[in-house]
């Protein structure tokens, strides 16, 4: 009998330990999805690459050498050189900084605003909902990219302003998905149960609505990272984003566009980088969505 009680105690003990490390729990779930783990590793490598770019890059990104214009791969320059003879590998490594920042920060801004807006509109309904949604309609009536361009133009060209412009420009997508998701969660009995114990609206939104409504957004968010990397590249191309000579993947593709036939690799390498990061984001998002949902735990 006593032994049994002891056993019960130890079970409680381990359970508590597990509770403490929610992150560990998520990781344990995520581990089951091999693709997501690979994606996570790729992303971590990319981030490390961005952080330690000065140490890893063989040459400074702006170092020109006109003799090496459009030179192919060589022992010194592993991926060859661009028009101005700059080392492509170094530029790719440095470029990861700008591209990742653009993607991640812009999406973070957009998703935060979108989630709050969507949750409030969905939860309160009626005129609040109408107001929010009509505003978004107007917002969306303008081409998203044009909006970003105008915002960036008003604020002046720089990386920071490009990020802000992208963040604000892509809010509607998140807000709409969030609102749709909140509308279904709002009708759940546990929301009513929370009202029955007099939980404030803010608490209901924070504790009951958002955690249960956010799942469909995770994929949208990770996809958004890829989209923002691309849009950021386009902004850079028309001179409103990252300013040359600072390298950026999208800008590198834009630069390579005119010589696509003669030197396809120039566009190919940054293209692969973008593809890899976007793909990794998507796969990770998929895995995270499953791992975050306690209902799918076995």
């Amino acid at each position: 009998m006593r032994e049994k009680a002891k056993e019960g105690g130890s079970v409680l003990e381990t359970k508590r330990k597990r509770k403490k490390s929610r992150l560990y729990e998520i990781w344990r779930q995520l581990k089951k999805n091999k693709l997501a783990v690979v994606a996570l590793i790729v992303l971590v490598l990319l981030v490390l690459l961005a952080i330690f770019a000065p140490l890893l890059a063989p040459y400074p990104y702006e170092k020109q050498n006109s003799k090496l214009s459009y030179a192919g791969p060589s022992a010194d320059y592993l991926l060859g050189n661009d028009k101005l003879g700059r080392d492509i590998l170094s530029r790719l490594i440095y470029g990861s900084r700008q591209s990742l920042q653009m993607g991640v920060i812009a999406v973070a801004i957009a998703a935060t605003i979108g989630i709050l807006l969507g949750a409030v509109a969905g939860f309160y309904g009626r005129w609040v909902d109408n107001l929010c949604m009509r505003l978004l309609d107007i917002y969306q009536a303008m081409p998203m990219f044009l909006l970003c361009v105008s915002l960036a133009a008003i604020m002046g060209p720089s990386l920071r302003n490009a990020i802000i412009a992208l963040g604000i420009g892509t809010v509607p997508g998140y807000a709409r998905i969030m609102r749709a998701s909140v509308l279904t969660v709002r009708e759940k009995e546990y929301v009513e149960a929370a009202k029955a114990i007099d939980a404030s609206n803010a608490r209901i939104i924070r504790k009951h609505i958002i955690p249960n409504a956010i799942a469909p957004l995770i994929v949208q968010i990770t996809m958004g990272v890829g989209g923002c990397i691309m849009s950021g590249a386009a902004l850079s191309f028309i001179g409103l984003g990252v300013q040359p000579p600072i390298p950026e993947w999208g800008a590198m593709i834009s630069d390579a566009r005119s010589v696509m036939r003669e030197h396809p690799t120039l566009a190919l390498y940054p293209g692969i980088c973008i593809m890899l990061s976007v793909l990794a984001c998507n796969l990770l998002g998929d895995g995270l969505r499953d791992a975050l949902d306690p209902r799918l735990k076995n």
Binding site: K188, Y190, A196, I197, D198, R203
Partner: protein, 320 residues
Amino acid sequence: MTPLLEVRDLKKYFKNKAGMLHAVDGIDFVLEEGKTLGVVGESGCGKTTLGRTVLHLIEATSGQILFEGKDISNPTKQEMHGIRRKMQIIFQDPFSSLNPRMSVCEAIMEPLVLHEHMSKSEMLTETRRLMDTVGIATRFENSYPHELDGGRRQRIGVARALALNPKFIVCDEPVSALDVSIQAQIINLMLDLQEQRGLAYMFVTHDLSVVKYISDDIMVMYLGQMVEKAPSDELFKNTCHPYSIALLSAIPVPVYPNNAQRVLLRGEITSPINPKPGCRFMARCRFAEEKCNEPQVIEECAPGHFVACCRYKEIKENKD
């Protein structure tokens, strides 16, 4: 002595594209401390809306609700906070009434967090005590609702309702989603709690055998109105309203040979949108005649036995 809860002419209309939906239309009842009022009726009769309206989860269109003699029909925010402590609800579906992302412990603790000024450890002790009261082993405290079976989930629902030590609980079909053997466990738990704490229940259900078992008084509702109300034994022995008669006879009784005489109703429940002033059951009633088009008056046919049918006497004589 003032009764615990008194409801007077409570109405709740919903605006609808087609007109006014009379979900609850002029309900009166009185509930004493420690007693149980059973509310029965079929889907769409407004029994769930009634429970929610009494609790102010839905704003009433008109009518009065008196709790411990105090009118709480139009409470301020602060009054509301106080009322919530004393009136609670247990939901029908333990699968959807618990937030899937809150652990058992968090779910039971939530009312304490909102209402009691306790330290974290005090709250944890209280939560464990509650879990013990409703019969969930503490080893489940970090489990999530989806990991538990229906019976345990419903116990969490009960624990949440009990957390603030209420005097009155609306039970909205608390056992209809559960298996028979588990259903009995929960009913017994609720009866035990009532005995220990002097709780008053308003037990909303469509299951008449359960309601007979647990209630002191039973109210039968049809399309937002009360058609009959009586002490539970009296209602089953001396059923007066033709709808109640049909309803009682339709309960499948688990005995064999099953020679219950079913009174089959024709048609289905009519629309609660813009109903005519007369008896709402008329369209399905075998005994309907001209005078049923008049609004029905509630009569006391025996002590404590109320019926809203102008022909109940004739029907009774017919039967005998």
